[in-house]
């Protein structure tokens, strides 16, 4: 097989000289290699490395300067970390770690470079083509007035009474961002969908739902924004994706049918599973997040999955796991990529139906909302029941004979937006928390239906105001004089941890965090 593509990111400084020597000498550099000259390997982020695979590369190499010879000091070290993280993620995704390489060369090491390139080519040749085929970018079409008008009338945005309750409740507006849901709706109704301010603001919305709660006309602003985002993205609008769009790329990559993901390999062996069970545990993307953020935030959101499985085992439930599990599509749906969301949804539902599953349990609020509500709403019917683990825990613990060990800490709780605005599980986290035995449980200033978001949703529109929001939230948590912040969503853990890394405020904000499933799993016992 010789029909494959390798993208070579080549640093301008050290290895480029060696590469030029090869060209000058007329050495045979494999045809499959397309070279891209870059100023420094440290600037090739995880998202750029992954984007190459998303666009159809079978192998990617990052060639930089040897440690100590980097023109900018830290480039080589950064490149090594980025490559390691991306390698582990593509490994988990089932592409094969070996498709991504990183090496360093001195300017005079042209022979070694040629040897390396030939070896890498052989390696990719033996691996065969990547299971990812290029995903066509949506063709840019102008936003039709009709489609915007349709969305406006579908969500009955005309019912807006201009009262401004949304803007006075919006966490972003309250933190000082020049952002107003009321003004945004009015601009869109007035037909200014192309205006720069609308194009910017629709990506800032947290879609947390506070405005919807306050709206006297019940305009579902989050879903309205979601649908407008879809139209604008189709128009080629910049979705202002955070982390260079890495997560959107990752989730789009999961739409490829040929993928054989290995997302469960990390799971401890003593967790009891039963492949034939009619109950399926849907894990979510936490394992990918943990790899992506391991050098930065050191988050441990996979614990939520492990703790949930242990809790199921505690109640003698041995669930099946889903080998082909793909992202539920939440973040794609909420960042305007409805097409790929639908692909993921169909694949997940088909696979679950093929397994003959009767009940799907999940611990992620986003997965829960997406599976239980957004799949059916987007025309994908479910033949199974979707249960959030809190429902199951409340039911099982409610049967009795369960006790909890004392927690030697004062605790407070960060609500999850995605659970807060659904009727069924909204008060469940608090019921469960009240069963625990901490020194004290005290609510934050904004809690329950007034709770504020962790600062970002669907990996889009993150900016300084997101950080300000996180700082505000963590200060509220500290104001309760608690020592432990209990959360209900892996994203809250990631985003709040981000503010704790702040070089100036980090120490003041730092607070121990644990997911609700984690604290239950650690303290639950038979009476």
């Amino acid at each position: 097989m010789d029909d494959f593509k390798i993208i070579l990111f080549l640093c301008n400084w050290g290895p480029h000289t060696a590469f030029q020597t090869l060209q000058d000498n007329g050495s045979e550099i494999p045809d499959q290699i397309s070279m891209i000259r870059i100023p420094c390997t440290g600037r090739i982020s995880k998202s750029l490395l992954f984007r190459a695979f998303e666009m159809g590369a079978d192998g990617v190499v990052l060639l930089g300067c040897q440690p100590g010879t980097c023109r900018y000091g830290s480039g080589t070290a950064t490149a090594r970390e980025n490559t390691e993280d991306t390698r582990d993620i593509i490994g988990m995704l089932g592409l094969g770690k070996e498709r991504l390489g990183h090496a360093t060369f001195l300017p005079d090491e042209s022979d070694l470079l040629l040897q390396f390139l030939n070896d890498f080519c052989d390696q990719i040749r033996s691996l065969g083509p990547s299971p990812l085929l290029p995903i066509p970018m949506p063709e840019s079409e102008s936003v039709s007035r009709e489609s915007v008008a349709e969305i406006v009338s579908y969500h009955d945005a005309f019912a807006c009474q201009d009262c401004g309750k949304c803007s006075s409740a919006c966490p972003l507006a309250l933190i000082g961002k020049p952002f107003s849901p009321r003004e945004l709706v009015n601009s869109i109704i007035a037909g200014n969908i192309d205006s720069p301010s609308v194009n910017k603001d629709i990506w800032s919305c947290l879609t947390c739902g506070l405005c919807y709660d306050r709206c006297p006309s019940a305009v579902n602003f989050p879903e309205f924004i979601r649908d407008i985002r879809h139209v604008v993205r189709k128009n080629g609008g910049n979705a202002r994706e955070a982390h260079g769009g890495f997560f959107q790329s990752l989730m789009r990559a999961m739409t490829w049918p040929g993928l054989k993901t290995q997302r469960w390999d990390w799971l401890p062996k003593d967790v009891d599973l039963d492949a034939k069970s009619k109950i399926l545990f849907f894990g979510g993307c936490a394992p990918y997040f943990d790899i992506f953020f391991r050098n930065h935030l050191n988050v441990e959101t996979t614990n939520i999955i492990e703790d949930s499985l242990r809790l199921l085992n505690f109640f003698d439930i041995k669930p099946a796991l889903f080998k082909d599990e793909r992202c539920c599509g939440h973040d794609l749906l909420w960042s305007g990529d409805e097409e790929n969301f639908l692909k993921l949804a169909k694949m997940n539902v088909d696979s679950i139906h093929n397994l003959g599953i009767e009940e799907v349990i999940t611990a992620c609020p986003e997965c829960y909302r997406t599976l239980a509500h957004d799949y059916p709403k987007h025309g994908i019917p479910l033949n199974f029941k979707v249960t959030h683990i809190y429902e199951l825990l409340e039911k099982e613990i409610g049967k009795g004979a369960i006790d909890f060990k004392k927690i030697d800490k004062k605790i407070t709780f960060q609500d999850s937006c995605r659970l807060n605005w659904l009727e069924k599980p909204a008060d469940l986290p608090r019921k469960l928390i009240r069963r625990l035995k901490p020194i004290r449980f005290r609510e934050m200033q904004n809690n329950g239906s007034a709770a504020i978001c962790c600062g970002n949703c669907a990996w889009t529109g993150c900016d300084a105001f997101s950080k300000a929001l996180q700082v505000k939230r963590l200060r509220q948590a500290h104001d309760t004089e608690s020592e432990l912040l209990v959360t209900a969503c892996p994203k809250c853990q990631i985003h709040l941890r981000c503010a704790m890394e702040d070089p100036f405020l980090g120490e003041e904000l730092n607070m121990e965090m644990i997911d609700l499933t984690g604290i239950i799993a650690k303290t639950i016992c038979w009476e």
Partner: protein, 202 residues
Amino acid sequence: MTDSQNHQQGKKEIIITGFGGQGIVLAGIILGKAAAIGEHMESTLVQSYGPESRGGSCNAQVVISREMIHYPYVSHPDILVCMSQSGYDKLIDQIKEKGTLIIDQDLVRPGRGLTCDFFSIPATGMAEALGRVMIANIIMLGFLTAVTNVISMDAAQKSVLESVPKGTEKLNTTAFQKGHDYGLATLKGRQKKAAGQAGAMS
């Protein structure tokens, strides 16, 4: 008659004790009916009668057997169900050595050094949570059905439905189910603890 003979003939002597008005006698009636009608066994009921029925101590003595019962009074119960502290204090010394003690933990504080098999359930608290404190007796029956094997779940449930006032069937079914679930969870917890799996992480 010795204990072992009792056991062979499947004879069980039960005392349910509590305050008048808690539905102690009704619980006894339901239990006896379930055995007689549902399980085709013999059963007798002796109920304390008198001023007690207006708030004082009260008890129901039930005998269930495969064979004809010659004497309906119970002095040494196999199963003692206590829904009041005074009832517990009065009868705890009479329970058989390998008997089963069941208490409502909201109302009874058990003494130390119990040698018999011991179960507890917060029946009154659970009944309050259901909105009707008088349903505690049915919760207790559900619990008793789960932790002992005197009568079957089916027979007990039918008997409950036949004996409670019309219009309260749904509430009573829920209460019975709650008590039964609690009983099963208690048994499961014991089993798990015995196997060394007290918590989720160990």
